[in-house]
């Protein structure tokens, strides 16, 4: 595999482009000055300010609760949908399920947001934690389904047949063979749905109610007023936390792969 210098430069430049804003955010979160143009020395004051802002902390907590709940619901729905589409052959409503599982991936969020809000109004649902969870779970399910489906497709049918042949009922087969083997993909799907929920602004704005402000909503209302170093500090925390999670997860995945590759011959 040859990698010409031109390609290498393109790759490096592209990666630099991707990381520059993040890098700048992190640097300036430690800037003692408010201004981006002046470096006034290293300071943690913005972090201090952040942790004393009750509104922000509340919003962060709300976002976390919503993310965990909606990701878990999304996992269940998405996994079932993926299994049904890959393994259960032709059934009534299959075409519809395919459409409904793929559509949220490309649909502009304002449309999904508005439609869900109108649904809740029609059904007279009180808007708040529950409605945001439903919205995020619905979107998350689509992503979980994609990831789990990709894994299930490579799962040989033989394995399930072997389990059935050896006396396991379909449910037992699912539990003992399919689930353990799909588990890494399911975890990836959960993490994806979690990240999506944590980061979502549009859906939350449409379907939230009084007292259920999420972190992105708070950041957004603040950001419209301009750049504040407090948001830089918050951003840095999020970036560092997510980076640790993601890098950690990928190292775990790599380790699991290596362990399974010892061969005798």
């Amino acid at each position: 595999m040859k990698l010409s210098p031109a390609l290498l430069v393109a790759l490096a430049l592209g990666l630099a482009f991707l990381y520059l804003p993040i890098f700048l955010l992190v640097i300036y979160s430690f800037n003692d000055s408010r201004l981006v143009t002046v470096w006034a020395g290293f300071s943690l004051r913005w972090y201090g300010q952040l942790f004393q802002d009750a509104a922000f902390l509340e919003a962060a907590w709300m976002s976390l609760k919503v993310a965990v709940t909606s990701a878990t619901i999304a996992l269940v729905i998405g996994t079932l949908a993926a299994y049904a589409l890959v393994r259960l052959g032709r059934f009534r409503g299959r075409m519809m399920m395919i459409g409904m599982v793929q559509a949220p991936l490309v649909m502009p969020e304002v449309i999904t947001g508005i439609s869900l809000l109108l649904l809740f109004v029609t059904l007279n649902f009180d808007r708040g934690f529950g409605t945001i969870v439903i919205a995020h779970a619905t979107l998350g399910a689509a992503y979980v389904a994609v990831v789990v489906q990709a894994r299930l497709v490579t799962l040989e049918r033989d394995l399930e047949e072997a389990a059935l042949d050896l006396g396991a009922t379909p449910a037992a087969t699912f539990r003992q063979v399919v689930l353990p083997l799909a588990a890494p993909a399911m975890l990836a799907g959960w993490l994806l749905a979690f990240a999506l929920s944590l980061d979502d602004l549009i859906l939350a704005s449409f379907v939230s109610g009084p007292g259920s402000t999420t972190l992105p909503m708070k950041i957004y209302s603040q950001a419209r007023l301009g750049v504040t170093p407090m948001i830089n500090a918050l951003s840095t925390i999020v970036i560092v936390a997510v980076s640790i999670l993601v890098i950690g997860a990928s190292l775990l995945a790599k380790g699991a792969l290596i362990k399974g590759e010892h061969r005798a011959d």
């Binding site: 991707l18 993040i22 700048l24 949908a81 049904a84 399920m97 109108l118 619905t138 399930e160 750049v227």
Partner: protein, 297 residues
């Protein structure tokens, strides 16, 4: 097709199918029908702020259909909406093309990189995606504003005298979209290019084709599925973008997503907002469906 057979432990199969179907039907499909219904209503001062679909007459009898196409007429006739839709399409299209130009060499480089580099490269491309979308867009405010990082750097290097006005213009929106959606373009391209059989290129070279010809006639056409997938994955959501034009664009950068938001939240005209949403859906989804049918044929 294996899996369940009718008659085996009935119930599990049905449950597995029904749960997702019901959930998605209720929380994804039904809402669209409701949007459609409300787009046919009239905006009134009430809770909820739209007229009902069925009007029951005083003395009993069959209800009359309180549906009106007024909202659609407004959408189609008022210049604002058409302009903002075309604007959105234009900005999304330009951004998609720019993204393609940036992403393709990167994806190609990744596909040709030594095998043990690839997981790290993939991680490097995906990591920004995991960190908040909102935060990353916000970061560009600090970079692009008049007293921002870019202008500061350019001026201190002596390349310009007065700050470039980039923030609150269409330029900033383009940069924002390209930046935010770039990983979504790189990944499908990479997936397709990685699977490409390099022996085909070698065969072309063996038959006397120079490298650029090999690229144009072999690599490019074969990576078309990745190009299409990446472009669709990026173009459609970009058309409906709201956050980026709102934070980075100017008051004259009107994109359709922002219009829906304004009509809904600021003007409280739910029926009109619904009509715009439906129109948007038709404009974006119809070509997709036709394209799909065409591809399957």
């Amino acid at each position: 097709m294996t899996g369940w057979r009718p008659g085996w432990r009935p119930g599990w199969r049905e449950a597995a199918i029904l749960l997702p179907l019901v959930w998605l039907g209720l929380f994804f499909l039904a809402p669209f029908l409701i949007v459609l219904k409300i787009s046919l209503a009239e905006s009134i001062l009430a809770q909820p702020p739209y007229s009902p679909l069925l009007v029951w007459p005083e003395g009993g009898g069959w209800p009359a259909l309180g549906a009106r196409l007024d909202n659609y007429l407004v959408v189609l006739q008022d210049d604002l909406y058409l302009r903002s839709l075309l604007n959105a399409l234009r900005i999304a299209a330009v951004s998609t093309v720019v993204m393609l130009v940036i992403a393709y060499p990167m994806a190609y480089a990744m596909a040709r990189a030594p095998r043990n580099w690839r997981p790290a490269l993939l991680l490097a491309v995906i990591l920004p995606f995991w960190t908040s979308f909102l935060i990353r867009v916000y970061a560009w405010i600090g970079i692009l504003k008049d007293e921002g990082f870019l202008n500061h750097a350019l001026m201190s290097l002596g390349l310009i005298d007065s700050p470039l006005v980039i923030l609150n213009t269409d330029w900033a929106v383009h940069i924002g979209i390209v930046y935010s959606y770039l990983p979504f373009m790189i990944l499908p391209l990479y997936a397709t290019l990685e699977r490409l059989d390099l022996t085909l290129l070698e065969a072309a070279a063996d038959l006397g084709a120079p490298p650029w010809k090999g690229f144009l006639q072999v690599t490019l056409p074969m990576s078309l599925p990745g190009i299409v997938a990446g472009s669709l994955l990026v173009f459609i959501p970009a058309v409906g973008e709201f956050v980026i034009p709102d934070l980075l664009g100017g008051s004259d950068t009107i994109m359709i997503g922002k219009i829906v938001w304004i009509e809904f939240f600021q003007n409280a005209d739910w029926p009109l907002a619904s009509a715009i949403a439906v129109t948007m859906l038709v404009v974006l989804v119809m070509p997709l469906v036709i394209l799909r049918r065409g591809l399957q044929a």
